[in-house]
Symmetry: C2
Subunit: 259 residues, 2 copies
């Protein structure tokens, strides 16, 4: 591939999100079959059906591409082009009828995320990031906002209960410094970083399908996203995530999380 992602691939990613959204909206706030996975996180028939639909569309249009999804086994994971999908990120929100859950669709080329979609089917809201293009929100370009310091930052995390021991101490230092802290926004928080409303997201225990789609979205809006140690995120990262709109806030948070 050349420097920028082709409009064809971006269009196809949007088609995928249209298809997943149609499935998910049919199931939202309707009776669900809910199972507990081995890690005790819930999975529903809607998660599975959505991933099945996305895999079928990818297989039909791009049979040479690989797919890694949250719910089923990897397909051609060594392909140059690899889709990494989370049909419903925020299943806990989905099952309680809270509309901030989203579908995450990433495309990697030789291991590097080049395209990402954060789609919120219950809200009709979608961020798309693609290398060589500005990140868009429902079709309009968005940008992160400047924020000079942690003290002025709006911080988000999924839940404080994800942090333990030394990590909790580090996180608490950031939280007590930040101007305002919010929880429970799932992947929506990363979209709001790209759109310039949130300055910092700190997370842990994330899987590749949770973070890879966020990278092109945030980078294409001018932000920065790495693990806590400042390393780029890829399929083998340690599950920690630091996303910021302004590099100064990213650097300050990185210093705290590794202190």
């Amino acid at each position: 591939m050349t420097d920028g992602v082709s409009p064809e691939l971006i269009g196809f990613a949007a088609e995928l999100a249209d298809a997943s959204g149609a499935v998910i909206r049919r199931h939202f706030r309707q009776p669900l079959t809910i199972e507990d996975k081995p890690d005790s996180s819930p999975v529903t028939n809607a998660d599975k059906e959505t991933e099945t639909v996305l895999r079928a569309l990818i297989g039909r249009r791009h049979p040479g591409h690989g797919v890694i999804g949250e719910e089923y086994a990897a397909h051609q994971p060594d392909a140059d082009y690899l889709w990494v999908i989370d049909p419903i990120d925020g299943t806990k929100s989905f099952i309680v009828g809270k509309p901030l859950f989203g579908t995450l669709i990433a495309l990697l080329h030789k291991g590097r995320p080049i395209l990402g979609v954060i789609d919120h089917p219950a809200l009709g809201e979608r961020w798309i990031g693609a290398r060589g293009h500005p990140t868009t929100f429902n079709g309009s370009a968005v940008k992160v906002r400047p924020c000079a310091s942690l003290k002025q930052a709006v911080l988000y995390a999924s839940t404080p209960h994800a942090f333990e021991g030394k990590d909790l101490t580090r996180y608490e230092r950031i939280r007590r410094t930040a101007k305002l802290t919010g929880y429970g926004a799932d992947c929506y928080a990363y979209g709001l970083v790209a759109s310039g409303f949130i300055d910092l997201v700190v997370e842990t225990d994330m899987a590749p399908h949770d973070y890879l789609a966020l990278i092109p979205v945030i980078e294409g809006a001018g932000g920065k996203v790495t693990d806590w140690a400042g390393r780029p995120l890829d399929l083998k990262s340690d599950g920690t995530v630091l996303a910021a709109g302004d590099e100064r806030v990213w650097a300050a948070a990185r210093a705290e999380m590794t202190a």
Copy 2:
């Protein structure tokens, strides 16, 4: 007044929510003037403008009614009919572009809440509860769901950081027992109790404009809402709130929060 709230009053409350929604949507995700109040919570020009519009509408239609709002001084607080309004509940969500904030409109008659609206203008979603009528969500009747025990309950709170000392210990006991815990849904969580998706909400430091509108919504859907000690909520309550869809969960949570 007779046993049920008149359709005229319910219709007027909906008109109020239409009007507040129109103001708030104009300001959502637009540049805001943000001030810190004495309690260090934020207030925006949108909060103030919304309350001004609601007060004007009430004064014109029902000049004999009183109004207590979050942002301005009480007007005729001794009137038999008293409106208690929070123009934007969840201002912290509003200013970061997260659409779960809502407008809360309560009507008290001789101190008792008889009508409540939870309106989410960025989502186009509205719960209305009124004595003598089933609670509605966007016009359709809703009901709480049965839940036999804390162990099976979905719990919500605004943030765990609101709890301190002994209260935090009590809250943590409930959280560790509950099946699933979520944060950051503002007044939306109470709507989801009425609609049968969330089983329990535990809060503290609430003001009358934060909780009075929730009461008719939850009671009209078959749920129960009191302070932690199990007392009915009124203008002089202590700021603790326990809302549950099923009385068994309410009783268990009450026992834990007063243990």
